[in-house]
Amino acid sequence: MGLLRLFPVQASTFAPDVDHLLYFLLAVAVFFSLAIFCSIFYFAIRYRRRSENELPRAIHGGMALEILWSVIPFGLTMVMFTWGASIYFNESRPPDNALDVYVVGKQWMWKLEHLGGQREINELHIPVGRAVRLTMTSEDAIHSFFVPAFRTKQDAVPGRYTTTWFKPTKAGKYHLFCAEYCGTNHSRMGGWVYVMAPRDYEAWLSGGASGGSLAENGQKLFDELACGNCHKPDGSGRCPSLSGLFGKTVQLAGGATVKADEGYIRESILQPQAKIVAGYGPIMPTFQGLVTEEGVMQLIEYIKSLGPPPGAPAGGIAAR
């Protein structure tokens, strides 16, 4: 790495998009700065005061000029807005075939879980050329998952899920930072993202997996907590069946409906009384304090694995 690198490496599909917008903005900024600086210099020298009692003729303004220098910048800013918003829109919508990774931030480390059950701390191994979706939350303060080489950043907020995604384009080792101030060791809360060639990634996956996939762990937890005593697969239990639940629209007591997405399932485990399914009683105890955020994520993966109903779109509605 050069000592005086001016731009970070581009290692995701977003990186060139963001950098191109940056170049455009830089061009605009340099143009206007130079225009202002040069005018000031020129006027300051050309019209310097030559005698103490000189009186320049008053010029009170010109509407045409005012309109000109309002409309042109306004047009430029609208280009900036549209361009920036389109990138943001893409960054907000992960593709359906993305690789899922769950992320939990806590003071002061990142805990990551792959679908295959591989767990990492402050490191993330992902394959090059494949979209990766992160579903994140925090156990304490707000953290922010920041990978400069990917030009992505997203806060991990306690109490809810947030999402971000990226598609690495270049194998290598990149900084992972926490970008939202979170206390004493904020500056040490980070590590590395390893983008690997697909073959290396497969090798890494098989080396790291021990103790079952995320869904399998979820099932174990499901059994340990005896969830199945009430949530019977055929719906004969005291609680609704979870088969094919994920992605479905759920009818709630009181008439409202909600889409069964990650946020809804998380809430239903930790605050089960917040939304009651129509036809069932508010009998489920809370599992707050009994299940960790990672455990919740495993349970979600297990419930997802119970099979989506045919034809339902992936994803769902955010918590609240």
Binding site: S92, R93, P94, T135, M136, Q154, V157, R160, Y161, T162, T163, K259, D261, E262, G263, P313, G315, G316, I317, A318, A319, R320
Partner: protein
């Protein structure tokens, strides 16, 4: 100084109207109007506010500036509420958690 001094009768009538509106809003609250319960309750509250402001606070005799200050303040309250709600009401529109 041109001061308008309203009659006792005016003030008494305003008080009466305020008390009646209080009774009305309390009673209407028990009638199921669905979504409109909120609307009616707030509409009555706005009426009461206007009565107090216009008569008791003499806004109807006040300068344009006072009226402007009052409207400006309410407008800013609306800005605070609406732009904050622009986040909370549009969460989940695209079906991605946290977006």
């Amino acid at each position: 100084m041109t001061e308008h001094i309203d009659s006792i009768r005016t003030y008494a009538l305003v008080l009466l109207a305020l008390l009646v509106l209080t009774a009305v809003t309390t009673l209407v609250a028990f009638v199921d109007l669905g979504e409109f319960s909120v609307v009616v309750a707030l509409a009555i509250a706005v009426c009461k506010m206007l009565l107090v402001a216009l008569f008791f606070m003499h806004v109807r005799h006040s300068t344009k500036l006072t009226k402007l200050v009052l409207l400006g303040g309410l407008l800013w309250l609306v800005i605070l509420l609406m732009l904050t709600l622009s986040d909370f009401t549009t969460r989940g529109w695209i079906g991605v958690p946290g977006r």
